[in-house]
Structures are given as structure tokens and as C-alpha cells.
């Protein structure tokens, strides 16, 4: 039986795995930081690293958020919170592009509502925002396929020229 037990133990080890193991982190602090990130956002098409983000999540890993508290001091984001707000919206659009396209076509949804809130559309005018995205679905998705930043820009333009949303949104 002993031999059997060894075989069995190694089998359980293979099947063992970990609860929520994360691949990542422990990254050497050698990045040029914010500046490069910004470039990436501007130039990258939707698929480049967004896809990898998705792949990484399939592996039960989570995004490249380093342990907090140890927040990097070398990001070099000199423009303060402004970049972050922009980044937060693009990052949301990037990661949730599939959910957003679906909800834009359906004229409602929690991802779309969250995006509206990130863009400063007041909750009581979400309905108009939803209808607008449904109407311009094809254009918006085309922009989104180029880059999340382009989609946000297209959305911002659409809001700016919208008879109601332009007045109420905190841009």
C-alpha cells in the first residue's frame, strides 16, 4: 500500500493547487512609470494588453495591482489626480469593453451605468445616456475597437453635443 500512497499523494498535490493564487507582483521597480503608461493608453489598440488582462483573469490571477501600502513612489505622475481620473475611465472601458458593447446595444446595464458615473453623468440622466449609446452603438464600438481612449473620446463628444447631457454632465 505504501507505493500506492505515494502515487496518491502526488496526485493530490497535482490536483491541489491553491485557492486564488496570483501570478504576478514581486516586479522589480524599474519602470519609467506613469509617462510610459500614458503612451500605452494612447497608442495601444484594444487587444494588445487588454487581452492579456483577460487571459490573466482566466487563470485565476488578478490584475497587476501591487500590494497596497507599498505603492510605488517612482510613478512620476506629476500631474496629480487628473491623470488618474482619465486613467480610471479608460481602464474601465478597456477591461469591460465586451460588457460595455453589449449593454450599449441593449440600452442599459450596470457597466454602462458605472461608465456614466465615471464620466460625470448624473444618475437621473442615465436614461438619456443609455439611449444615446444605443443610437450611436456602431460608431462607439468601432472607436472602442481602435482603443478605449478613442471610445471615451467619442462618448465625450457625443455627450458634449447632446441637447440634455451637455448641460447636466460634469465634464
Amino acid at each position: 500500500m505504501r507505493k500506492g500512497l505515494i502515487v496518491a499523494l502526488s496526485a493530490v498535490a497535482i490536483f491541489g493547487g491553491q485557492l486564488s493564487m496570483v501570478l504576478a507582483a514581486g516586479v522589480a521597480d524599474n519602470g519609467p512609470g506613469c509617462g510610459l503608461g500614458k503612451e500605452l493608453w494612447r497608442d495601444q489598440n484594444t487587444d494588445a494588453w487588454g487581452k492579456q488582462v483577460l487571459i490573466s483573469t482566466t487563470n485565476n490571477t488578478i490584475l497587476p495591482f501591487q500590494a497596497f501600502g507599498i505603492t510605488s513612489q517612482t510613478m512620476g505622475c506629476k500631474n496629480g489626480g487628473k491623470f488618474w481620473v482619465e486613467y480610471k475611465t479608460s481602464m474601465f472601458a478597456q477591461v469591460n469593453f465586451e460588457n460595455l458593447s453589449q449593454e450599449m446595444a441593449q440600452g442599459q446595464g450596470e457597466h454602462l451605468a458605472s461608465l456614466a458615473s465615471l464620466m460625470g453623468v448624473p444618475a437621473e440622466h442615465q436614461g438619456e445616456f443609455f439611449a444615446m449609446t444605443q443610437e450611436r452603438y456602431t460608431t462607439l464600438v468601432k472607436a472602442g475597437e481602435a482603443s478605449p481612449v478613442a471610445m471615451i473620446k467619442a462618448l465625450n463628444d457625443a455627450v458634449a453635443t447632446h441637447p440634455v447631457l451637455a448641460k447636466v454632465s460634469a465634464q
Binding site: 493547487g17 506613469c34 503608461g37 497587476p64 497596497f68 486613467y87 440600452g107 458605472s114 444605443q134 456602431t138
Partner: protein, 669 residues
């Protein structure tokens, strides 16, 4: 197919291909990294601190006074101090912290000496030296400790070193916390690491709505697995070979991971914490950002550390003490739900697969045909039968079609681009309808996890085998088998780990280990026109057989199989399944002590009533190697649920000239 258990290896190679990406600077974009705005400030502090490091703090009279008060009030013995430092009583009766990062302690002996650590902490309040792996003044790096000491010792802040915890404030303001929600992602058998589910916390934001809760941050504890870990990585994971730490990804990422990609149902338990308790929890979480813990898959895992955060938020809660050998996520959820008044409300977030299945139930026969047609040929949208439908029904069918195409693009990666392309056409048509989709309330297939039976099981039974009678005692470490009450557990998913049954045969007057299971996993995925996932099983253990001249012989078993299942609703719910399988046996009863062969199993799993479940299966195996023989066996088992943690079973096992009937009472704990 990518849904086999051994995708571990496939994943491994994917990990490797991604390793450069992980090393890329993007990996440093924490949501809070923008604290780097304050790049210059720490440098300044660093310059100042050169002249006032902790080692040469002058003997400040106030410092001695505080240390004295602390010793008079016996602060070192208080539960909160132990919670803050994660001290546990060790085998020698002293204390050892569970934190394994030396930088988490201010005293060099702090990990094992609560008194020295307390004094070092009080001393550090007079210093601006940057400490911890986050390199901040002690009062900021260990802000929960400071605030606790400040309150207990009534510290006069003006007598301490002046520091400004801007990084903490930025982080805290970004979280904008109002309440805390415990999130449970249900078990996912196709990834061994997720077989028991996962828990983490969501930090709900002020002014958050039902919909914008996606934007809230989460507090997630997980092991960091560096790339290139090789085949030993699961072993390292079990025995603490990796470092675990806390991170704060936004909730939408977790929803994407669990709901959209892995198709796992999510349960959200909003906790009843006061504003002060929420703040305590976050301050302590911030401190833990300074620490790593050796990650132990079975005990000191995600759920364990999440409980420790809840305990510090409300020190009247005793949660981690309840777990000694393993911490199973669903058990922690049951424990939290059992604390009086702790859970405010419970919300369910269905997986995409559940959404599709529930929406299908709302389609008429004709509509369902159109739906299946659409998933195959997008052009059928132009069909007269579709166009004739009311616009709301058209929208509903297109919505579920889109859900399904997204499900396929995640589960059939090799054809993902085809499904995405189809989905795009469907969505373009959907947007042209110009009406918003109606909200559909999706009910879960299995109820919330806190209603489920306990993880471990003990049973007492008696029965007949051939010409003998016996009594039996069984114990199973975890987790759930197909006949256990399924409330709160993933449907059709069996995971049994470590069980042992002892039997006494009365006539033979023999007591023996009747059965033992190391691991026994069985996953049934009912197939139909839309869902094609295979069923699979894997079992390693031993049982007792009657073979040849041997009346009661130990028999080692390794068995694995792949098959298919179909669901029906003749009575209530039935699942019929079939497997092709391979098996190896090891026993003295065989010629050459072993036999290896293959065969198949067919079976039925049926809910007769809410509480009464039946399972029947027949297996035929032909062994071509070792002892050339064959084996034909039958099993019929029934379970009747008495309450959440009590059940009755009647089981009949038949093999050639070997009949075994047992009745047992089972208790879960």
C-alpha cells in the same frame, strides 16, 4: 478541450508566455500608485530622519511615561494587540505572529515578543524614520496600531514627532468607504485552485448604487506565484512556499473573472459595520500592505486572512479561532452569517451560464427554436417568424443570444473570434431596436452558501454484507458528494477529500479500515443543444473487496473517466450520465498484486422530493493487465435530509457474489 482538470499544465505554459508582461512597468499601476505624486515628500522626510532614527531617540520623559502606562494597563495582553500583530499562542506557550515579513515588526524580536514589539511601537511614535516595506514613518505605516495606542494611552499627539500620512489619506479617500461586503465566489471544479470557492471583501463606496458597486475596490488576499515555478508549484502552495499578500483590485475585475470567464455564481453579504469599524478595518488592511504571510492552501488562505480583518474591525468577533486545520471559504461564510446581526443583506450575482439557463426558461418553444437558430446562423434574424414577433420579444431573444455567444467565446477559446464576430452582428441588430432591455430577475439554481451543510461529515451506520453484519464509523474532512444535501453547494459537483471508514464485522469478529478516500472528484455538466462541456471524474482511494479466495481484502483504486450528462425534468430534476473510464487496482488478492483496465459507467441522479435524493449507477470494467479479470458492479443510494446538518442514507453495493447494504446517519460540522 480546455475544461479538463489537467489544464494546470496548459495554464503553466500560458503563465510563462506572460511572464515578460508581468514584469512590464504596467504591472506597477496600482490604483493607488498615483500616490507617487508625493514622490518628493518622502525624500524630504528621509533627509530629516537621518538625524532622528529610532535607535537614537533621546530618552524623552513622555516616552517613558507612555511605556509605563502601557505596562500598568497591561496593554500587551489585550486581544486587540494580538489581533493587530496576528499573534498566536505557539507550541511552547509563548506567542508567534503569523506574519512572516520581518519588516512588519518594529522590534527585531517582535515576531515572538509582544512586549518588545509594543515598546518598540511606542518608541517609534517619536521618530520620523521610514519603516516597513512601504517606507513610511511608523505612525503612517502602522496607522491602526498608532490609532489604537493613541486611544488606549490617551496620547497627546503634540508631544510626538510631526508626520503627515498623505499616502494613507489619498488611499483612504480614493476608497471612499461606507461599508464592507463579504463576497463569496462559488466553487469552480475546472480549476483545482478554486474547488472550494473564494472569499474577499468589497469596500462599498459612499453614494454607490446597485449598479456602480462595480466600481468599488476590493480587498483580496492571495498568494503571489512567481513565473517559472515548475511542477512543484502546487506542493509549495500547500506547504507555505509562497508569499501571500493583500491587494485591492476594483470589483469589476473580479466580476469579469468569476461571472464572465469562469461562470461562477457570486454571493454578496453586506456587513453591518459602523463607520468607525469600517475605518479600523481599512487602517489595518493598510498596515497589512506592509506584510506578507506564508500562504498555506488549506489553512492560512484567502478566507482565513479575510476573517482576521473582520476581527480587528470588531474585536468582539471570534472567527479565526474556529479554524484549526483548514479554512474552507464556504465555512467562513457560514460562520460570518451565523454571527448575530453581522450580515445586513445578501445579494446574488448569477454567472453568465446561470443567466442564459434562466432566460431560456422564459422562452416559448418557438422562441427557443429561433434562439438556437440565431446562435448558429445570425442571418436568421431576417426570418419572417422572427420579424413577426413583438419588438420586446425580439430584443429578449437577441439579448440571450448575445449572452450565449459571449459564453461560447470564453469557453471555446479556439473559436472565440468567430463567436465575437457573430455577437457583433447580433448586437448591431439589437441596438437598431432602440428599446432598453427589461430587467430579468435571475434565481440561483442552488441556494446561498450559508444555508449549506458543514464541510466535514461524520456518520454512524450498520448493515449486512454477504453472511455477516457490521457496524461502521466514517469521517470525511470535506467537502460534498453527489448525494449530500445540495443546498448552498454547486450543483452536480462532487469534491471529497480525505475520508476514512472503519467497520466491525460481527461474525468474522474483525475490525478493519473498510474504505479510505484521498480525493474523489466528479463533475457532471448536463449537455444540450447549447452547452457541450464534458463531465469528468477522478478518484484515488481504497476499498474492501471480496475476490477469489479472499473474503475481505484491501484494494487500492485509482480511477479516472470522461463522459457526458443529460438533464431532464420528468419528476423533479434528473441527471443521467455515462463515463468511459480507466482504472488501476492494487491488492494482494490479485495475481501479480494488481490489475489495470478500462470500461464504463452509466448512472442516474434524481431528486425525488425536496429532501429525498436517489442515485443509481452500474459499472463494467475489464482488466487487461495484471490479474486478467472483469468487474460488474451496481450501486443504489438514497439520501433523506433531516436538517441543514443532518441526513440519513441507505446504500446498496453489489459486485460479483458480494452484496453490501448499509443504513447510516450523517452529521455535518
Amino acid at each position: 478541450m480546455t475544461r479538463l482538470p489537467l489544464i494546470r499544465f496548459w495554464r503553466k505554459s500560458l503563465h510563462n508566455s506572460l511572464k515578460d508582461w508581468w514584469r512590464a512597468p504596467i504591472a506597477r499601476w496600482g490604483p493607488f500608485s498615483f500616490a507617487g505624486v508625493w514622490f518628493a515628500a518622502p525624500l524630504l522626510i528621509l533627509a530629516v530622519s537621518q538625524s532622528a532614527s529610532a535607535t537614537d531617540i533621546p530618552n524623552h520623559p513622555y516616552l517613558s511615561e507612555l511605556i509605563q502606562t502601557a505596562s500598568q494597563t497591561k496593554l500587551v495582553e489585550s486581544r486587540e494587540w494580538h489581533l493587530l500583530l496576528h499573534y498566536r499562542i505557539n507550541v511552547f506557550g509563548g506567542y508567534t505572529s503569523e506574519a512572516d515579513d520581518p519588516q512588519f515588526f518594529l522590534s527585531p524580536v517582535g515576531r515572538t515578543d509582544p512586549q518588545a514589539e509594543l515598546e518598540a511601537t511606542i518608541r517609534s511614535l517619536f521618530s520620523t524614520e521610514l519603516v516597513g516595506s512601504s517606507k513610511q514613518p511608523a505612525r503612517c505605516a502602522f496607522i491602526a496600531r498608532y490609532h489604537w495606542l493613541k486611544e488606549r494611552l490617551a496620547i497627546d499627539e503634540s508631544k510626538l514627532a510631526t508626520v503627515d500620512c498623505e499616502r494613507f489619506e489619498l488611499w483612504f479617500n480614493e476608497l471612499n468607504a461606507e461599508s464592507i461586503t463579504l463576497i463569496f465566489a462559488s466553487a469552480f471544479l475546472d480549476n483545482p485552485a478554486s474547488m472550494f470557492g473564494h472569499t474577499f471583501l468589497r469596500v462599498d463606496q459612499k453614494g454607490q448604487t446597485e449598479q456602480t458597486r462595480l466600481l468599488a475596490y476590493t480587498i483580496n488576499y492571495a498568494a503571489e506565484v512567481p513565473p517559472d515555478q515548475g511542477a512543484f508549484y502546487p506542493i509549495k502552495g500547500i506547504f507555505g512556499g509562497f508569499k501571500g499578500s493583500f491587494m485591492t483590485p476594483p470589483y469589476y475585475l473580479k466580476v469579469l473573472e468569476y461571472r464572465d470567464i469562469e461562470n461562477r455564481d457570486i454571493w454578496e453579504y453586506r456587513l453591518n459595520f459602523t463607520e468607525a469599524q469600517v475605518r479600523r478595518l481599512l487602517e489595518h488592511a493598510w498596515e497589512l500592505g506592509n506584510a506578507y504571510f506564508d500562504y498555506y492552501f488549506f489553512k492560512e488562505n484567502c478566507s482565513y486572512h479575510i476573517l482576521s480583518l473582520l476581527e480587528y474591525a470588531d474585536p468582539t468577533l471570534y472567527l479565526t479561532d474556529q479554524f484549526h486545520v483548514w479554512t474552507v471559504p464556504a465555512d467562513t461564510v457560514r460562520l460570518v452569517a451565523a454571527q448575530p446581526g453581522l450580515v445586513k443583506d445578501t445579494k446574488y450575482r448569477p454567472s453568465r451560464r446561470t443567466v442564459i439557463q434562466r432566460k431560456r426558461e422564459l422562452l416559448s418553444g418557438e422562441e427557443h427554436r429561433l434562439f438556437v437558430n440565431l446562435t448558429e446562423h445570425v442571418e436568421s434574424i431576417k426570418q419572417e417568424t422572427f420579424v413577426r414577433l413583438p419588438i420586446q420579444r425580439q430584443a429578449f431573444i437577441l439579448d440571450v443570444t448575445s449572452d450565449y455567444l459571449r459564453y461560447r467565446s470564453e469557453t471555446d477559446k479556439s473559436h472565440a473570434s468567430v463567436y465575437k464576430e457573430q455577437n457583433r452582428v447580433v448586437l448591431a441588430d439589437r441596438s437598431a431596436l432602440r428599446i432598453p432591455s427589461e430587467d430579468v430577475k435571475i434565481e440561483p439554481f442552488s441556494k446561498q452558501p450559508d444555508l449549506g451543510h458543514g464541510t466535514s461529515r461524520a456518520s454512524v451506520g450498520a448493515g449486512w454484507r454477504n453472511n455477516d453484519t457490521f457496524e461502521e464509523l466514517s469521517i470525511r474532512a470535506g467537502y460534498h458528494d453527489l448525494l449530500d444535501p445540495e443546498i448552498g453547494h454547486t450543483q452536480d459537483a462532487q469534491v471529497e477529500i480525505a475520508s476514512l471508514s472503519l467497520r466491525h464485522y460481527n461474525r468474522a469478529d474483525q475490525t478493519r479500515v473498510e474504505r479510505a478516500t484521498l480525493v474523489n472528484i466528479l463533475s457532471l455538466s448536463p449537455m444540450d443543444a447549447l452547452f457541450h462541456g464534458p463531465s469528468w471524474k477522478f478518484n484515488v482511494g481504497m476499498n474492501t473487496i471480496r475476490f477469489g479466495d479472499c473474503q475481505l481484502c484491501s484494494n487500492g483504486v485509482v480511477n479516472g473517466g470522461i463522459g457526458a450528462a443529460v438533464e431532464s425534468h420528468w419528476l423533479k430534476r434528473e441527471v443521467v450520465f455515462a463515463f468511459a473510464e480507466a482504472e488501476a487496482n492494487y491488492s494482494r488478492a490479485y495475481e501479480e498484486d494488481h490489475r489495470v483496465g478500462g470500461g464504463g459507467t452509466v448512472g442516474l441522479l434524481s431528486d425525488l422530493t425536496e429532501r429525498w435524493k436517489l442515485m443509481a449507477s452500474g459499472t463494467y470494467l475489464r482488466y487487461a493487465l495484471g490479474d486478467k479479470s472483469d468487474d460488474f458492479r451496481w450501486f443504489v443510494g438514497q439520501r433523506y435530509t433531516l436538517s441543514q446538518n443532518w441526513a440519513l442514507r441507505l446504500e446498496y453495493n453489489h459486485r460479483d457474489h458480494d452484496n453490501d447494504v448499509m443504513f447510516s446517519v450523517q452529521a455535518y460540522f
